[in-house]
Amino acid sequence: MAVIQLLSVTKMYGSKVAVDDLSVSISPGMITGFLGPNGAGKSTTMRMIVGLDRPSSGNITVNGQAFVRSIAPMRTIGAVLDTKAIQQNRKARRHLEILAATHRIPATRIDEVLSLTGLAKVAQQKIKTFSLGMNQRLAIAAALLGDPSILLFDEPMNGLDPEGVAWVRSLLRHQASLGKTVLVSSHLMSEMQNTADHLIVLARGRLLAATPMADFIKAASGVASRVNSPDAARIAAAFSEPNVQVLTLEPELIEIRGVDVKQIAVRARDEGWTIYGLNRVEVSLEDAYLQLTAGAVEFISGEPTPPMQNPATVRTWHATTPAPAAPMPAPESENYPDMPSFEPPAQNPTHQPQSVFPPTTDQNRG
């Protein structure tokens, strides 16, 4: 049974639509990843679930009722919406004491969450002396204080070091394994792919996908071929079919997505193309996610946009190219030493997916 249920939820800020007719349900016992570029409406949706924002229309229930009606909100939802939702000029322990007081939670529980989050030693320090990671842990401690059955974490891995990311991940895993409902948002697929069991993908306030992670991977990952040839332009023209994407990486280097190397080799023999190099590349999940959301990105930075901006084409390609069960490449593997690293076979640096998102990670409200 779904614990959190959104029914046709729309949120407008003035004339701007932040969340558009979103119907989705979130179930217990697993980690639901909430994905989407900055400004996709993830944070707004989470704020609406806890009642900070009211939907312009539609209905949200938590355990079958509006969260506002909960007699023990801290036992129901623990939320980390932003780490700055804290009075900086207080001691960490005092912050937790204030929250604990509202529900008559005993001091022993405060000690528990302090040691659980590794903050026991700094509990008497003022929060303003805390680093970003420590703030994050304090926010998590506050969320866990009431031992809630639902955890809502908005971008909990922002600004964390690799160890911190692994820690948050294991914490979420553990909470989910206790049968709790865990909803965690991120704008980075790389954070989600080893974390979430289920995915909800939003872009521009609209639902793009709500699917088990395994299905998303299956639908998203695909094969592509890379061709190094003086006849690149002719080859590109020859493969301009609806289900195929051709990227020109260099004048003589193209990537053809949706076509296997064997097809290209046979075609090259028939057409008489000169081929210097032909190899197979795996399309990463990160790429797939970027493509899925590319048409819906709001903040385009000055950086070059990534290949394959047309979501319609991308979806076709997704649909028609069922992937072999490929290992998941981790594009940012150097930052996450705990993750398995799978280098693509072709070592061309241009294959690195370029982010269309601005480098800032703290503007994720919306």
Binding site: V68, T102, K121, S149
Partner: protein, 313 residues
């Protein structure tokens, strides 16, 4: 992260519940996280009062404002009678005047004028601090029905203002009493004295609530402070100037002037309007000014609640 602070809990650091994430998926120690799912914790109003008190007490600005307010109330009470019994004629009943008696409680009349500003600021800051820091989002997530949190804050802020003011005034009066002439009566525990003493403290509690209401409605410290000074200081001044220049003896303008939030509260804790009635044509009474003061307080507080319930946090 500075070196003195512990790293993420891991097998490498001393206080570990986790295995190193590098070697294996971290596993939580079941004992630490042992789910206290059957705990009967729930939201309680007494708990909210305690939480709001902890919040108020852990803001540096609270203690600065309350200290200054306390000092001013104490100082003005201790010195005003000695400084020429300035206020006594306003308050003294005809009977007392005939007997040549002056009441000590009259020394407290000035206290709300000075402390009022500071305690209103306390009320404003108690909520705008939450908005500026973002704490309000945590507060309202823990209390999604919202109004109990503000009600608890109002009770705590008002009680704090009342108690500190009452103590400061009492201390000031007691300190000043030994050196005063015999004609000054220690009346703090007589009904007339209690009215001045506790009435003025009550007015200060109302002012703190007015600040809280303004702050909740406006959310920004700076704008709320400007609005407060506009209503309390500039408005009466402009009105006074206007009426004096244009129509010095207009009954309606006098009525409005006497019921402005800067003027009306004095009618709650002194009998000045009732005493003046035989001599001056002041269209105000204890009852009318009390009602006016309550309305001036409840208006921003009411709009504050409405705003808190209706607007997104």
């Amino acid at each position: 992260m500075s070196t003195s602070q512990p790293a993420w809990p891991s097998a490498n650091s001393g206080d570990s519940q986790l295995q190193s994430p590098q070697t294996a998926p971290p596993v939580f120690n079941q004992q630490t996280v042992a789910s206290p799912s059957l705990e009967p914790w729930k939201l309680s109003f007494a708990g909210l009062l305690r939480a709001e008190w902890l919040k108020l007490a852990s803001m540096a600005s609270t203690w600065v404002l309350v200290s200054v307010s306390f000092g001013l109330a104490l100082y003005t009470t201790a010195t005003s009678v000695r400084a020429g019994l300035f206020f006594i004629d306003i308050v003294n009943s005809e009977l007392n005047r005939d007997l040549g008696i002056n009441d000590l409680s009259s020394s407290m009349i000035g206290a709300p004028i000075y402390s009022g500003v500071l305690l209103t600021l306390l009320g404003i800051l108690s909520i705008t601090n939450e908005y500026s820091s973002g704490m309000i989002r945590t507060t309202l997530t823990v209390t999604p029905s919202r109004w109990p949190a503000l009600a608890a804050k109002a009770i705590v802020v008002a009680t704090f203002a009342f108690v500190t003011s009452a103590i400061a005034e009492l201390l000031g009066a007691i300190l000043s009493f030994p050196g005063l002439p015999d004609t000054v009566r220690f009346d703090l525990f007589l009904p007339s004295g209690l009215r001045v003493w506790l009435g003025s403290a009550f007015v200060l509690a109302l002012m703190a609530m007015l600040g809280l209401g303004l702050g909740t409605l406006i959310r920004s410290t700076a704008v709320a402070v400007v609005a407060y000074f506009g209503v309390m200081l500039v408005l009466p001044l402009l009105f006074l100037l206007g009426t004096v220049v244009v129509q010095p003896d207009n009954k309606i303008s006098n009525w409005i002037l006497l019921h402005l939030p800067a003027v009306a509260p004095i009618g709650i804790y002194t009998p000045v309007f009732d005493n003046a009635a035989p001599f001056l044509d002041w269209p105000a009474t204890t009852a009318s000014t009390t009602i006016a003061t309550l309305i001036w307080t409840l208006l921003p507080v009411g709009f504050g609640f409405w705003s808190l319930l209706k607007r997104d946090a």
